[in-house]
Every structure is written in C-alpha cells, then in structure tokens.
C-alpha cells in the first residue's frame, strides 16, 4: 500500500514537472522530459499493479493480458478519458484500434470498462507497439510488471474498504499481497504523441476532433520539413492529456493540496474547455480515490 501511495505521489509530481516544462524558457527539454516520463511510467505501473487497488485478476504476479487487450495506457481508467480530443494522436492499426473518439464515446467506453478491457485498450493503443516489442524482448510478457493485469474493474476490493487507510489489508480482503518485485520494470519509451504538424504548444494539442477512425502513422504523412521540428509538441500533448485526466480526478477528490493547485491551474486554461466538459469518467475509482487522497498528503516520502 505504501508503494502505491508513493507511486501516486510520484505520478502527480511528474505530471507537474511535465506541465511546467511547457512554459520554461528555452523550450521543452527533451532529456529531462524523457526522464520524467520514464519515472511516470514506472510509478504508474506500480500504482496500477498494486493489488489493493486492482480487481480480482491483479493480485499476485502480473499476468499476461488477454490477447486482444493492448497494453495499458494512461494511468488508470479513472484517471481520465483517452484523449479523444487530440486528433493528432498517433494511432496504430491495432485490433483494439480505438481511435480518438469524440467526447461522447469515452463515456460509453467508460461504462464498458466495467466489463474490462475496452477502455484500457483505447487508452493503450498508442503505446501498443512499443510495449509489444518490450514484451517480445522479455520473452513473452510474463515478466516483471511489463504487463499489468486486467483493468481495474468495478469489483474493486477497496470499495469494500478492504484496504484500510492504515495500509494493512484486511484478512478478508482477497487481495493477495503482491510479492515485492517492487522494482518497477524497465521503462518503455515515454508516451509521446507527435504534434499536429505545427509543433508544440497547447494550441497544437487540441486540434479539432478527428474522425473516429484515425489513420495510423501520422508521422509518415508529415511533410519532410515538419520532421525537423523539435518534436516536443507531443510532450505538450501528453500534458494536455494528463492534465485533463488530472483535473477530472481532482474534481472528484478534493484532497491533496499540491494536486489541487495543479488541477486548478489546468482547469483555467482555455484549451481545457473540451476536457472540462467531459463527464466524470470514474466509476469504480471514485471511492478508491476518495480513500486515497487524504492519505496521499500524509505520505511519508521515504
């Protein structure tokens, strides 16, 4: 549980850094943002694979995902919708292939998430090829947390107040203590999306919503001149995505001083309009997060 809390905190710190890097003088620093996104990924994986939060399938050693499910994408289903509004988002021709949907769809997907994979699949798509490569490299994904378990489903044990805030799971929890392979798995590449051709900047992130089925590999469609832009616009997109997710998170969970500030900051931005309009995405996670947040501020850091 403590790992989860620390992971949660690290995720929020990382998002704050990525967000702040947008306004830094000299432009987005690729190296630092790469490192931050690696940490973000590690922390997120720990967060997601912690049995206290996960569904029935998540306890114990990480399991290979269902065949059709691509790898997990954004932090958690509850952390916000797939970035449907970002039409510049890279998509891969996966069977999961849920392209950026118009805002209405995420809600539907959100509902479906209760049954399991589809939401995660949608979120996961942009990362799918990388993760698959990673999995292949590690000989099929049984490896350390490369693959997170099935998405957290509605049967969240924490809903039953299984994991008390004090950190010790109750005996009747059903969550198996996860062997602490504690070490987050080697990171995969950061989640980066190519900017919509025009380079970075918030404006670029929110090109008007594209058609539901997006062509893959937008990169190849770009003009040669575009390639030479410093491709950190995708990092800016990342921020938008996380930012919107986070503000959604925070709207539901008013704990956590630091996170509040970030959330408010982000909500004020005009670009956040579409995200702000999105319906609350969280189902099973609300109670989880409500339980979590007061404690996230009480974390002992080390």
């Amino acid at each position: 549980m403590e790992f989860k809390l620390e992971a949660h905190r690290i995720v929020s710190i990382s998002l704050g850094k990525i967000y702040n890097s947008r306004v830094q003088r000299g432009g987005i620093k690729l190296h630092k943002n790469l490192l931050v996104s690696l940490v973000l990924r590690s922390a997120r994986q720990v967060y997601l694979s912690d049995p206290c939060l996960g569904g029935p399938g998540v306890g114990g050693p990480p399991q290979p995902p269902p065949a059709q499910e691509q790898l997990p994408g954004e932090p958690a289903p509850g952390w916000g919708e797939p970035h449907a509004r970002d039409s510049s988002m890279e998509q891969d021709p996966e069977p999961a292939g849920a392209a950026p949907e118009p805002p209405a769809l995420p809600l539907a997907l959100g509902k479906r998430s209760l049954e399991g994979s589809p939401l995660l699949r949608a979120e996961a798509v942009p990362e799918a090829p990388r993760r698959r490569v990673e999995a292949a490299e590690r000989g099929g994904g049984g490896g350390e947390g490369a693959l997170e378990g099935p998405p957290r489903a509605r049967q969240c044990c924490c809903r039953r107040l299984c994991c008390s805030p004090h950190g010790a799971p109750r005996a009747d929890c059903g969550c198996r203590p996860r062997p602490d392979d504690g070490a987050p798995p080697p990171p995969v590449c950061p989640r980066k999306r190519s900017a919509s051709g025009a380079g970075g900047g918030p404006a670029g992130c929110l090109a008007s919503g594209g058609s539901p089925v997006k062509k893959p590999r937008r990169d190849s469609e770009e003009q040669p001149g575009d390639e030479e832009e410093m491709e950190t616009g995708n990092v800016a997109n990342l921020i938008t995505i996380f930012g919107s997710s986070f503000s959604g998170l925070l709207r539901k969970s008013p704990g956590g001083g630091r996170e509040d500030e970030d959330g408010e900051e982000e909500e004020e931005e005009p670009q956040r309009g579409p995200e702000a309009a999105e319906p609350g995405p969280m189902y099973c996670d609300k109670p989880v997060l409500r339980n979590l947040n007061p404690w996230s501020t009480a974390i002992v850091a080390f």
């Binding site: 620390e6 190296h31 990388r130 070490a183 990171p187």
Partner: protein
C-alpha cells in the same frame, strides 16, 4: 635534511588528491547572496597552456582570466588570474516559426590550441556555435595626414607636408571578435562540442544527433550520429555528451541517458550509427528504484589525457573505463552515496536532474567532480584515497589550507561532520576544471569562481 627534501619532493610530485594540500587562492564574482540569474556560471575551461581560464554564464557572456607571469620574488604562489577579456558571446533569440525562445546560456566553451598570437575558442548555446578570436592590441598608428588625432578629417587643402604614420605603444586592449558562426544545424539542444586532434574539425552534439564541422566552413556540416527514431514515440534514450579522442582523430565517444557509452570510428562509415564499442555496466538489481533510470543517465564524459581511459559521471558516481574493456568500468568512485535514500526528494526539487561534470588532472592520476553544499570531491586513482573540500568565502585568506569535509550519512554525527539533512542543495558545484600542467583548479559555485592551488612551500 636530504631526507626531508626528498620527502617533500615526493609529496609535491605525487599529484595525489590527499597528498596535496589545497589552498585557497582567489574567488571571482559577486559577494551578493542574491544571485542574478544571468551571473550563474555554466561552463569553465582552461586553455591548453593553462594560462587562460574561460567561464561562460547564463547571460551569454564569456569572461576570460589570464594568469600573471610568475614573479621571481614571489615563490610562495603561482601567478594570479585576472580578468583578461569579457564579451557577450550569445544573445537571446526567438524562433518565430516554432514560438520558442532560444536561451543565451553558454553551454560549453572549448579552446583551440594556439597557432599564432591570437587565441581562439568555440562557445555554444543551445543552437549556435561561435568561433571567437581574442587578440591583443598594444600599439596604434599615429600621425595620419588626413585625420586629426581625435578622428576628425582634415581639410586636404590645409595639408602642406606629408608624413608617414608610425606605430606607438598604447594601453593593452584585448579584443574579441566572432570569426565564424555555425548555426542552423541543430534541431535539439546542443550539449557538447569537442575539437578534434586534427585541429581542423570539431563535433557538436545535441540530444539526438552529432554533427561534424570544419572550422573554416560554416554553411555545411556532416551528420555523423543520428539516434532519432522514425517514430518519436519509440524514443528511449538521448545523447548526453560527446568527445573526440585526444589522439585518434577518427575516434569519438558519446554517452546516453541510459548510462551507456558508445565509441565510434569515423573510418568505418559516414554515418556512425553503429558503434565500434559499447560500454555498459549491468545494473545492480538491488539498487532498483523509481529513479534508477535517472541516476544512471551520464552527465559528462571525458577522455584521459593519455587517451587510454575515459571517465563518466552519473548522478551518484564517477566511473573510469578502460577503452579496451567494454563490460564494466575499471574504477568506480562514489561521490555522494548518502543521497541514494533521498532520491525522491531530489526528484521533487529537481536536483536529480543536475548535470555534474568531471575532470582529470594533468597526469591522469586524480579525478575531480562537484557535489552539493558547495562541496567538491577528488579521487586519487593510485592511492585510492578521496577528499571532500568546500568552496566557501569563509576560507578566503590566500594560502589558507582547506580543511577536508565529511558528510555524516546516518547515526551519530561526529564533531565537524555535516549531516545529510543540513546540506544546502541550492549550492551545487557542477563545473570544475584542472590546469593542464599544474595543481591549480577552478571550481564554479552558482555565481562565483574559486581558484585553488596546492601549497607551494
């Protein structure tokens, strides 16, 4: 008596970090505690003879110090360094196309070996490299026929006699002029420049690419390394530093954010994407944490003067590699291992991203690097002893011997030790330089430059 003299000779000649007694010599920069951002020192470099010491700062300025000629009567210390030239190397720019401001901060300075009376150096910011000529003027022509001394033109009709202008001595003036500007070759931020041993070419490295330039040609450069993936989403590592081999003009190395170093041979192919050697140490699984990737990122790589070894600096350690052995370093020195348990805080306050540099002494027997609380560390490769010293104005009497410092990691703190929690993480020493021939070191704190010498007595 003879024995005593010979012992002293041993001490002075050993070059050992501990055998030497380091003394304060000078400090340059404002005394003010309130540091102006433009004054933050961003690079320090001695020239090949050690007579000149250049610093670059965040405001885009270069300040060059020159060592006084040794005074025969002053046997106690070597010459002092005084300001020789100051000039604005880079200005802030704005890239309108991408809506990006380009910082004027000087990332690196590298000196060219001296070929004539003038001195040349390369200075770079994030995007543009400039070749500067620093020359002295100590005489000027006087006695023009058509110009008055103050520059006004004379009416030609008033000229009745002609004279030949002659050179007369004047106060020394040091002029810096940009001779070449190497621009528009880097999409990402330049982190390194390195002059080849052929003294005709040099490389510049950014996060994803390395370019080869000829010093005379500014409108063209050759790309020799490109690690940009076709799909940026697949990016896993960036280039963090690069350097040419000191003797082999076909060899260079570059380090990555994953903790690897690649040695490349330019004779092998035009594009050196395939390394000749890959230096990597397997990670210790017991040290795994959320921040393992960050702390393994290499912040600096430097060849030894001999060319046989190279040194890398990552967040917690300095490693010496033998170019003939790729699978692990031959020596590893812990700089501030007590920080390993504090990585989360250091991540929060961004200190974990600090890029420390490292340097060799002239004989390659001692290496030096910086730390926090204005501490810097030296490791003697022969005696395996190390020392921690502090750059502080409190010890600023000339020839005051610096007292070794110690950080107490945990447990009972002894007298004179400093506990980890009382370290000031805003006072960091990122840039240090060692005179190529003497035991003189330049250590940059945030906005001050300290010069220390060994005790000559």
């Amino acid at each position: 008596m003879f024995l005593k003299l010979s012992l002293r000779a041993v001490f002075l000649g050993a070059g050992g970090g501990n055998d030497i007694q380091w003394c304060f010599s000078q400090v340059k920069g404002a005394v003010d505690d309130d540091v102006a951002e433009a004054d933050i020192i961003s690079t320090v470099e001695f020239n090949h003879s050690g007579e000149l010491l250049a610093t670059g700062d965040k405001g885009g300025r270069v300040v060059i110090f020159q060592q006084e000629q040794e005074n025969k009567t002053q046997t106690h210390s070597r010459g002092e360094y005084n300001v020789y030239s100051t000039f604005q190397s880079h200005e802030p720019e704005f890239d309108y196309l991408k809506s990006l401001e380009i910082e004027e901060k000087i990332n690196k300075i590298r000196w060219l070996p001296q070929k004539n009376a003038a001195q040349f150096l390369l200075s770079t910011n994030d995007k543009t490299i400039k070749l500067w000529k620093i020359s002295e003027r100590d005489k000027r022509p006087e006695g023009y026929n058509l110009k008055e001394e103050d520059g006004r033109y004379r009416d030609p009709t008033t000229v009745t006699t002609l004279r030949v202008p002659v050179f007369r001595p004047m106060d020394l003036m040091v002029e810096a002029s940009p001779r070449r500007i190497f621009a528009n070759a880097h999409t990402y931020h330049i982190n390194s420049i390195s002059i080849n041993s052929d003294y005709e070419t040099y490389l510049s490295a950014d996060d994803l690419r390395i370019n080869l330039w000829h010093l005379e040609i500014t409108d063209r450069s050759f790309n020799i390394v490109d690690i940009k993936p076709a799909n940026m989403e697949e990016l896993t590592e960036v280039i963090t530093a690069a350097e040419f081999h000191p003797n082999s003009c076909n060899t260079f190395v570059y380090s990555s954010s994953k903790g690897t170093i690649r040695l490349c041979d330019m004779r092998a192919s035009a594009l050196c994407d395939r390394h000749s050697k890959l230096f990597e140490e397997p990670e210790d699984p017991s040290n795994r944490s959320f921040f393992s990737e960050i702390i393994s990122s290499i912040s600096d790589v430097k060849f030894s003067h001999s060319g046989r070894y190279m040194m890398t600096r990552d967040y917690l350690s300095v490693k010496i590699w033998d170019l003939n052995m790729e699978n692990r370093p031959v020596e590893t020195y812990q700089v501030h291992e007590y920080l390993r348990s504090k990585l989360c805080s250091l991540y929060e306050n961004d200190c974990i991203f600090d890029k420390f540099e490292c340097c060799w002494n002239g004989s390659d027997s001692v290496v030096m690097t910086g730390s926090y609380n204005n501490f810097f560390r030296m490791f003697d490769r022969n005696t395996k002893r190390d020392i921690t010293l502090e750059a502080s104005r409190e010890n600023n009497k000339p020839r005051t011997v610096l007292k070794p410092r110690k950080v107490c990691a945990s447990g009972k703190r002894k007298k004179d030790e400093i506990s980890v929690d009382s370290l000031d993480f805003n006072k960091k020493i990122l840039h240090t330089a060692w005179h190529p021939k003497e035991n003189i070191i330049a250590v940059a704190t945030t906005n001050n430059l300290y010069i220390f010498q060994d005790k000559v007595n």
